[in-house]
């Protein structure tokens, strides 16, 4: 039952093969039994999940089932859930029980999803290995000595370990796509503004975007349908109409022009990964796509520009954590300043502090033009590179990450090394474009993701290309050996 895609779960529930209570109980049992190996959950809301499942079964009986009625999913612990602790992977919010829910959480509930709990993540979504969580590192189900990627590493590991049918994630510089790649699942970062950021704890507000992490593109389409849409509570939420993402799946891709950025296949890319991506592209070509070499000339500046803009926005966003209204407060502060400085020193982990300090530096008097304004100008050049490319091609493809899942601890001592994990994903965040990572092969028994980037609000096309690929390949159906051997 835990291997079923959402599309099949909905079918099974509809035909009465099993109930939501049965599949929810099954997933909860798996979490209890297996998650000690992965630490992919921070909080499991078992009782609440069973109540939601019971209500879902009732609605289905009454003929009143919304599209995902009774499907068990999990939410990244960055989404506020009314009455359930929302930690953002941080000691700062270890005691934070939100008085309201994020729009994404409400939308998924309205679509009928059952929430199993909250998944682990890098603290405040800052990281590419899920090693910075206050609740402990997440282990990759393909090899528990390796990282799952980050920051949505808990969501990726939980889906890969078949502890939930799908999960929500957020992506500021690659935090959905890179862990999806490292854990062998399908992860979609929508266009900036496609999904509401209301109630999603802010890291870098001009880059943050929520999206689905699932077993297939078909499932990602179902989930995005539930998540997307205009939200008056998020001033950056788009009013562009939401299409029917499932309706377009399966259309042929004859003549589809796929751009291959020269810069994404140069030095730094593991040759074994280059080979797997090459083979995936040949498969797409076989399906009728036309491969076109393109240039994204400012690619090499995306990581530097991002590490100005994201920390700058983070230092502003995280200034709200001051020990006054919610979150961690230090013991016996001597004065107000001591309370701020100690509460923040105790509440935040090393990587979060580092980024706040970098943000304070690039925004400080005398440096603003050289850093922040320069980064914003490069951001426009990066966007313009993509606009030029989309004049010639329909989608852009390449690797999601420069390597497969790396050993735990391998990059944690060197922040710059860690930042380069997102070298192929960051540019799409800076430009605000949608991107999807889908499993494309295995290198030394570890999954490799193919990234496909689309034009603004072209998620339907991305999902269709991914779905066509998944119709003729089975990489997305492969799982960690320990799970496939399991009866």
């Amino acid at each position: 039952m835990h291997r079923l895609t959402i599309a099949r779960i909905v079918e099974g529930l509809g035909k009465g093969d099993f109930s939501s209570m049965e599949i929810t109980r099954h997933y909860l049992d798996r979490i209890a039994k297996l998650d000690p190996n992965y630490t992919s959950f921070i909080t499991v809301t078992a009782e609440q999940a069973m109540r939601q499942a019971q209500a879902a079964d009732q609605r289905r009986k009454q003929g009143d089932a919304p599209p995902l009625c009774g499907v068990p999913i999990a939410h990244k612990d960055i989404f506020c859930t009314q009455g359930t602790r929302t930690s953002c992977g941080s000691r700062m919010l270890d005691n934070f029980i939100p008085p309201y829910s994020a729009t994404v959480v409400e939308n998924m509930a309205a679509a009928g999803c059952v929430s199993l709990g909250k998944t682990n993540m890098d603290e405040f979504a800052m990281g590419s290995s899920n090693e910075t969580s206050f609740y402990g590192a997440v282990h990759n189900p393909w090899d528990t000595g390796r990282v799952p990627g980050g920051s949505s590493g808990g969501s990726a590991a939980a889906v890969a370990a078949q502890l939930c049918a799908a999960a929500t994630g957020t992506d500021t510089g690659g935090s959905i796509r890179q862990p999806a790649s490292l854990c062998g699942i399908t992860g979609l970062k929508p266009t900036y503004g496609r999904v509401s950021r209301y109630g999603m704890i802010a890291f870098a507000s001009s880059l943050d975007q929520a999206g689905p992490m699932a077993r297939s593109a078909e499932d990602a389409a179902l989930l995005l349908q539930a998540m997307a849409g205009h939200d008056p509570r998020d001033s950056t939420s788009s009013e562009v109409a939401v299409p029917d993402y499932s309706a377009g799946l399966g259309q042929d891709i004859d003549g589809l022009r796929i751009g291959l950025p020269r810069q994404y296949f140069q030095q730094g890319l593991d040759p074994a990964i280059a080979d797997i991506i090459q083979r995936a592209l040949i498969e797409l070509q076989r399906l009728g796509a036309v491969l076109v070499d393109i240039d994204l000339p400012h690619s090499s500046l995306s990581v530097p520009a991002y590490y100005v803009i994201a920390p700058a926005e983070a230092s502003a966003n995280l200034s709200r954590f001051d020990g006054v209204r919610y979150g961690h407060r230090c013991e016996t502060p001597v004065d107000l300043n001591d309370m701020y400085c100690r509460s923040r020193a105790e509440g935040f982990g090393d990587e979060v502090k580092r980024r706040i300090l970098v943000g304070a530096y690039v925004l400080s008097a005398g440096y603003y033009d050289a850093y922040y304004r320069q980064a914003q100008k490069i951001r426009r050049l990066i966007k313009n590179d993509f606009l030029t490319a989309f004049g010639q091609v329909d989608v852009i493809a390449g690797p999601t990450a420069p390597g497969t899942a790396f050993a735990m601890g391998a990059k944690s001592a060197d922040p710059v090394q860690m930042y380069l994990e997102d070298i192929y994903t960051i540019a799409t965040n800076l430009a605000g474009l949608p991107g999807i990572s889908i499993p494309a092969g295995l290198s030394n028994d570890l999954p490799v993701g193919l990234q496909i980037i689309g034009n603004y609000f072209d998620e339907a096309r991305l999902l269709n290309v991914a779905h066509r690929f998944q119709q003729t390949t089975d990489w997305h159906q492969q799982g960690p050996a320990t799970l496939t051997e399991e009866v």
């Binding site: 004065d335 923040r344 020193a345 502090k353 100008k377």
Partner: protein
């Protein structure tokens, strides 16, 4: 870019985060590395480029100046570290 201990102390004050003396050198070293990586940006002449703050170049939407949210003070204060009579308590600011 080489930041020293004093630079870090100044940033720590700006950010209102205590940085322990025992780790200040390591923090300076790591932040200097990050700034070195960021400095790759400086090689590019961008004098003719307009900065971009929002990927869709969107502008701030406005709504009528009307109260839309109900008062939830009790719910919000239930999770505060210290409150009294509907007010948030902090250490004494003025003697």
């Amino acid at each position: 870019m080489n930041l020293d201990d004093n630079d870090i102390r100044k940033l720590a004050t700006l950010a209102r985060i205590n940085v322990d003396n025992s780790i200040i050198e390591d923090v300076a070293h790591k932040i200097s590395d990050i700034l070195d990586m960021i400095d790759q940006m400086q090689a590019l002449d961008t004098s003719a480029v307009e900065p971009m703050a929002n990927p869709l170049d969107a502008i701030q939407p406005l709504r009528p100046d009307q109260v839309t949210e109900p008062n939830q003070r009790e719910a919000f204060q239930a999770i505060a570290p210290a409150t009294e009579n509907g007010l948030y308590l902090v250490p004494k600011v003025i003697d």
